[in-house]
Subunit: 193 residues, 2 copies
């Protein structure tokens, strides 16, 4: 996605090998204009897939997932990383290891928001090793929901997340695909959309 790639070139920062910081427009400060374009693009890519729900994980997945859901005309559900006192009904849960934070989190979604009738588009801001997406897929499968595909804002193509998801038979759409972050430079692969 041209607008996203241009923005990464302008405002992304490489912090050592493997870390791309996009906190001025995606992960901390959010640009609603770019995020609207991102959501619209995801919706175009899955327009014919009869998506009934967009699923993501807090916190930085929420913005792209919300706009994707808006353009698809369906609700968005975000998995939580910690249990709230008012989230006391039956939960779908799975474990996700975060290499960034070096912790394992239990992520959860209330069972009432996913069912066997759902056809889910999973959205996340980053795809690296695929652990967060895998955790979300696990939640959907516990509910008997079908996962139709995965929409990723920024894919670190030099890590194995995409392979993991494609090996599960899933369609993966990444709007920016990073081939390498070596020597402080961002090199891109041809993006999916």
């Amino acid at each position: 996605m041209k607008e996203l790639i241009e923005r990464i070139k302008t405002d992304g920062r490489v912090l050592g090998e493997g870390v791309l910081k996009v906190d001025s427009f995606v992960t901390h400060q959010v640009d609603p204009v770019l995020m609207t374009q991102i959501g619209e693009r995801f919706a175009e890519c899955f327009a014919d897939s009869n998506i009934t729900k967009v699923v993501t994980i807090e916190a930085s997945g929420i913005a792209p997932a919300l706009y994707a859901a808006q353009f698809l005309g369906v609700p968005m559900v975000f998995a939580r990383k910690s249990k709230s006192l008012t989230m006391n009904e039956e939960l779908l849960t799975s474990e996700v290891y975060s290499f960034t934070k070096q912790i394992t989190s239990t992520i959860s979604i209330s069972r009432k928001f996913l069912s066997a009738e759902d056809n889910v588009l999973i959205i996340d801001d980053f795809l690296a090793n695929g652990q967060a997406a895998k955790g979300l897929i696990e939640l959907c499968r516990q509910a008997g929901a079908n996962v139709e595909g995965i929409g990723i804002v920024i894919e670190k193509s030099f890590q194995d997340g995409r392979q993991l998801l494609e090996d599960m038979g899933l369609k993966v759409v990444s709007l920016a695909r990073i081939e390498s972050l070596s020597n402080g430079e961002v090199s891109f692969l041809k993006e999916d959309a």
Copy 2:
């Protein structure tokens, strides 16, 4: 805001005294249509305030804050409740006690996203005792930014958060004001907008 109040009447659930659950359209599953209307209403209420940035706190503040920012044509920044490994620059931090989760969190925003030039609209999904809003105000003040006002989706008017914020001289706009949750019933005060 009529659409929000009708939705609370239809889909909100009272769990004992003081707890209103709106997880099917605000705090866990999110309705992008209603959230768009909420953001647009906040933007109307602060249209003449020269807002430069919308600030909220993860996770359920993100959706209303994002749409408010979109309609105001400014960026949105969400405070984090835990420190990420890639958030290594200078941070603005404050302490927030959550009665819902019964924990004190350190919330933080990177200093580079708030400055003395900023005129901030703070948005949150709930206002109860005002501790989260107070923490966000504290972050803004550390940066020398002006807080122009507070936009709240659902105010628990039987708690003292609004008084706390008004005593600080701040304009508070709440789209739904809950007078009471006694006997499993939601009663509303006249809303601000």
